[in-house]
């Protein structure tokens, strides 16, 4: 691919010409779903083009974002952390949004859309449980029953969020098939959707899946970057670099989008490096994957030579996914965003550091963005860095306790 091709694709993206009519971001994206779902997908595509763009819908959404979600979220300057890193560090605080993560921006938008197109129930998948909690809350808010599929492994490691979903009125189904994490939860949510595509709305939690989901989710999350860009310009200047964690990639695409046209701003997606670089030890899809088809889209994936999707590992349930949104696959291909990874250990260290320096407990997912930024700051002293703090870490208390006790045991053994 020539630099001219790359520029043309970036321009098309900036001009809103991508995804194209086939739902493609360059070679990525599309709609790879069973025939049973095609009428539902076509209906949703039409709704995204018509209902979603109306003034009435956007007004209703805006009113929920300010009055119920609590937007705009704060931009926090971190002087103590900055001193430590020899950088000017800013955090976009999605952890302060209602239910504790950026997921709510998407959940409330799609719940309003589900209602507008006459769906009578909502299904969703969740990894860390943040999307499940956000969907449960949004469905309660608009008055729709909801069922959340969650891998059995995640149900165990994110117990506080399971309780919150129940409290908010959602039915939580523990998924014991497949890899029993986010990927299996998506498989199961799709199976539910296939069973009744007419009245069930699938409220997907990341910028993944068949068209129009990657577009819809990005548009709902773009508010993160739009606010952050204005806030940065108000209080300083554009950042030199922007960091966000990437699992499916919804908070990162939302943060990056407003900065895509700012050539001087470097963008970095941080994937989960887990415990190592071998298949199965990480969830670094863009670093280690190749193009393939899963969950409705042609995108970068982790799979073996026979096409079987690989099990992934990350200490963070929200990043533990073998695929990535198709728009990220394009942004990597054209070189506009660089994708790096942070290991479990680096991310846990970054989490501790933010607690100690700034009094903020980040989600394990967001800690990956911090770890990536910290490493970059060491090589680029004196720079201005914006980090997407996608969520708060309260949900991670059981994992953090487990990690701590494992460490104690190891230390005792040594």
């Amino acid at each position: 691919m020539t630099s001219m091709d790359r520029d043309a694709l970036l321009q098309a993206l900036l001009d809103g010409e991508l995804p194209d009519a086939q739902g493609r971001f360059g070679p990525f994206g599309g709609r790879y779903v069973p025939e049973t779902l095609m009428p539902a997908i076509n209906r949703l595509t039409e709704a995204v083009e018509t209902i979603f763009t109306t003034q009435a819908f956007q007004r209703a959404l805006q009113s929920e974002l300010t009055g119920w979600v609590g937007r705009p979220t704060a931009l926090t300057r971190c002087d103590r952390l900055g001193l430590q890193w020899n950088a000017e560090v800013w955090l976009k605080r999605e952890d302060l949004a209602h239910t504790g993560a950026h997921k709510i921006n998407n959940a409330i938008g799609q719940a309003l859309l589900a209602k507008a197109i006459g769906a009578t129930r909502v299904v969703a998948e969740t990894g860390a449980g943040q999307h499940g909690v956000a969907t449960a809350a949004a469905c309660a808010r608009v008055g729709l029953p909801c069922t959340v599929y969650m891998g059995a492994v995640d149900v165990a490691r994110q117990a506080p969020n399971v309780d919150r979903m129940h409290r908010l009125g959602a039915e939580v189904v523990s998924v014991t098939s497949g890899d029993r994490t986010l990927r299996a939860a998506i498989d199961e949510a799709i199976r539910d959707w296939v069973t009744d595509p007419k009245s069930t709305y699938y409220l997907i939690g990341s910028a993944i899946g068949p068209h129009p989901y990657p577009l819809l989710v990005r548009n709902l999350q773009a508010v993160i970057g739009q606010e952050a860009r204005v806030q940065m310009l108000d209080r300083a200047e554009l950042p030199d670099a922007v960091f966000a964690c990437v699992g499916g990639g919804s908070n990162s695409i939302g943060l990056f989008h407003a900065f895509l046209g700012d050539e001087e701003v470097q963008l970095f997606g941080v994937e989960a490096g887990g415990t190592g670089s071998a298949l199965g030890q990480n969830s670094a899809t863009l670093a280690a994957g190749r193009p393939g088809v899963l969950h409705g889209a042609n995108t970068m994936l982790l799979y073996d030579d026979d096409g079987q999707i690989q099990e992934t590992h990350s200490v963070s349930a929200g990043l533990d996914y073998p695929g990535v949104g198709p728009e990220h696959a394009l942004l990597q291909m054209i070189g506009r965003v660089k994708y790096v990874s942070a290991s479990d250990t680096e991310s846990l260290d970054a989490l501790d550091e933010l607690c100690a320096m700034e009094g903020i407990l980040p989600a394990l997912e967001s800690a990956h963005a911090l770890a990536g930024a910290r490493r970059w700051a060491q090589r680029n002293p004196g720079t201005r860095i914006l980090i997407g703090l996608s969520g708060r870490g309260d949900k991670d208390m059981p994992i953090l306790a487990e990690v701590a006790s494992r460490k104690e045991n190891n230390d005792a053994a040594a």
């Binding site: 709609r31 069973p34 025939e35 049973t36 296939v194 069973t195 595509p197």
Partner: protein, 253 residues
């Protein structure tokens, strides 16, 4: 004769309704695959061989279970094609492969088309590949005369139904209800109306099924379709070590 026409002819030449039988390759054991295939071939008019996939999102518990075990048994698309090449000439029943798209992507379309044709495969059905995305695979298959079977469902709008039936090769797969494979076994009430619509739209044979497990269901579907597809129920028969040919014979009206 082109491989894809063998499927159409196999259904047309069969005693009505034709029986289309599904098994997951290498399940319950890898060693038993060729024997299972021969037994089924003696009783079915077309055989669908399931290529196991890690994320069978359109399948119910039976085929999820068989796929998981088959993958653990070391079943791959390469292995399946090798096995089929080894028993080529011994089985005259037309063979189709049922696979999710990613194993086909991993194999590479042109090589796949050549190897499948050489192994005696007549075509493919790909549950996560709608018509809109099918051109690259369809083109690769066209070079070898392989069929790409399209699915239609009760929720398919009339204009789309028309298009799918015209583009389908071998036969049209009429899914009899929304949902995943296997599971509930009652036939929908509007079955007659639905299958008549598909038949009217289709220039090639129509085979129907989803959760078929009794002779009565085969009879009822057979009144309105050219063939009946039996999947999960047959996989369970193989799972229990029972005779698949005997089971299939018991389904004939």
């Amino acid at each position: 004769m082109l491989p894809r026409d063998r499927v159409t002819q196999g259904i047309q030449a069969a005693k009505k309704p034709a029986l289309v039988a599904f098994l997951t390759a290498g399940y319950p054991t890898r060693e038993g695959f060729q024997a299972a295939l021969s037994a089924i071939a003696s009783a079915a008019d077309v055989i669908e061989i399931g290529v196991p996939f890690s994320d069978p999102m359109a399948d119910g518990v039976t085929i999820q279970r068989s796929s998981e075990t088959a993958i653990r048994n070391g079943v791959t698309l390469h292995w399946i094609l090798d096995e089929l090449a080894a028993c080529k000439g011994k089985i005259s029943t037309p063979l189709l492969l049922m696979s999710y798209l990613n194993p086909l992507v991993a194999y590479g379309y042109p090589q796949l088309a050549r190897d499948a044709a050489a192994a005696g495969v007549s075509g493919f059905m790909v549950p996560d590949l709608p018509l809109e995305e099918s051109a690259p695979l369809r083109d690769a298959f066209a070079n070898e005369g392989l069929a790409l079977v399209q699915f239609v469902t009760p929720a398919t709008p009339a204009d789309r139904l028309e298009r799918l039936c015209k583009q389908s090769q071998g036969f049209v797969y009429a899914v009899t209800r929304t949902g995943i494979t296997g599971g509930q076994s009652e036939l929908p009430e509007d079955l007659t109306e639905y299958l008549s619509r598909v038949k009217a739209a289709s220039p090639i044979p129509v085979c129907a099924g989803f959760g078929v497990r009794s002779a009565e269901q085969v009879r009822r579907i057979g009144e309105h379709a050219d063939g009946v597809i039996v999947g999960s129920a047959l996989v369970e028969v193989l799972e229990q070590g029972n005779d698949p040919a005997e089971f299939l014979a018991s389904l004939r009206p």
